[in-house]
């Protein structure tokens, strides 16, 4: 069964460093998303991406964040200068159509120290 894959599964980084989280969405999906879940809190929307551009973003997705689809398969989330409060599970998701069920990857646990 097709699935969304994320790498790495766990990333530890120093505060102020840049990190890139990688995702391979399901191949025939057109809409891509990043969500995050801070430990013990709700799953929060960060950004959606369609047709090679951001279609929506939340207030969390500030100038420190960027997304890219550098080739036909990868979808990346970059955090330019990490802060302690960026520590969370980051989930990538993809869907075939807008606003319908999205399929999630296993997540990347980001720990900023």
């Amino acid at each position: 069964e097709p699935e969304v894959t994320q790498t790495p599964s766990h990333q530890v980084t120093q505060m102020g460093q840049e990190v890139i989280l990688r995702c391979v969405p399901i191949s025939n999906h057109l809409y891509f998303y990043w969500y995050r879940q801070i430990l013990g809190q709700k799953v929060e929307f960060l950004v959606s991406f369609y047709n090679n551009e951001i279609s929506e973003k939340s207030e969390i997705f500030d100038d420190q964040f960027s997304v890219e689809r550098p080739d036909g398969s990868n979808f990346t989330l970059k955090i330019r200068s990490t802060k302690l409060e960026d520590s969370a599970m980051y989930f990538c998701a993809s869907s075939q159509r807008s606003g319908t069920e999205a399929f999630f990857g296993q997540g990347t646990r980001l720990t900023v120290v």
């Binding site: 929307f45 959606s48 606003g99 319908t100 069920e101 999630f104």
Partner: protein, 112 residues
């Protein structure tokens, strides 16, 4: 962002009984609602969805009910099984929007 609310952080039921998970929303622009199940250290897994043109959708042991006037939806699991123990998230999306808003989740424990 409190557009989707799950007011019960946890629910415990006996195996074989019905589990009812509730969700309320405030944004009347939402027109598509989903339930996700999440195990620890895994991503959310899509369970069932319902469009605002319907008031019920059933898939095996899982049924979602939507009450648009009350801005309320619920997930019924019957009969509940120990393997259903997980955190259940309600999510909603609106007219052409590409984001889903999640509730805080309800931890379901099904006791053998």
């Amino acid at each position: 962002d409190q557009q989707v609310k799950q007011n019960s952080p946890s629910l415990s039921v006996q195996e074989g009984r019905i589990s009812i998970l509730n969700c309320d929303y405030t944004n009347s622009m939402f027109d598509y609602f989903l339930w996700y199940k999440k195990y620890p250290a895994e991503g959310p897994t899509f369970l069932i969805s319902i469009s605002s043109i319907k008031d019920k959708n059933e898939d095996g042991r899982f049924t979602v009910f939507l009450n648009k006037s009350a801005k309320h939806l619920s997930l019924h699991i019957v009969p509940s099984q120990p393997g259903d123990s997980a955190v259940y998230f309600c999510a909603a999306s609106g007219a052409g929007n590409n984001d889903m808003r999640f509730g805080a989740g309800t931890r379901l424990t099904v006791k053998p």
